[in-house]
Symmetry: C2
């Protein structure tokens, strides 16, 4: 089962990559209201049910994929 982990910097944390993308876009006339840059990790997990896979993915995300002090994450089931 494929589980996607979307990691984004918390809104109160300075997201320098996001600022850089915003600035570059603005300089080229492609303005966006906001931009945040994070990580996307796709895990392929062998689990009997979707719930078990999500549970394992949550555990793995908390273990190595994100820093709770500065980031948040969200899981999704990839079809």
């Amino acid at each position: 089962m494929k589980i996607g982990v979307k990691v984004l910097p918390r809104s109160e944390v300075l997201d320098s990559q996001g600022r850089a993308v915003e600035k570059t876009l603005a300089q080229h006339g492609k303005t966006v209201a906001a931009c945040r840059v994070g990580k996307y990790v796709q895990l392929e997990i062998d689990a009997p049910t979707q719930e078990k896979a999500l549970e394992q993915a949550r555990e793995i995300a908390s273990f190595v994929l994100y820093n709770p002090l500065i980031e948040t994450f969200e899981l999704e089931v990839v079809k």
Copy 2:
């Protein structure tokens, strides 16, 4: 409107970050079948319709967010 851009390395490209995560997890008894590490960018776009927002996001992604030689991307509407 919030549009998420999920960027992943192409399957034929060596994904060293993914290999590193797999190895670390295996060393801690949390084996996954596969892992790919990419980027996640959340754009906030002012557009009259969802289609327009997706079109703009696609243009922005192709312009600065991904390298077609080694990466693929996918868009999603964030609720």
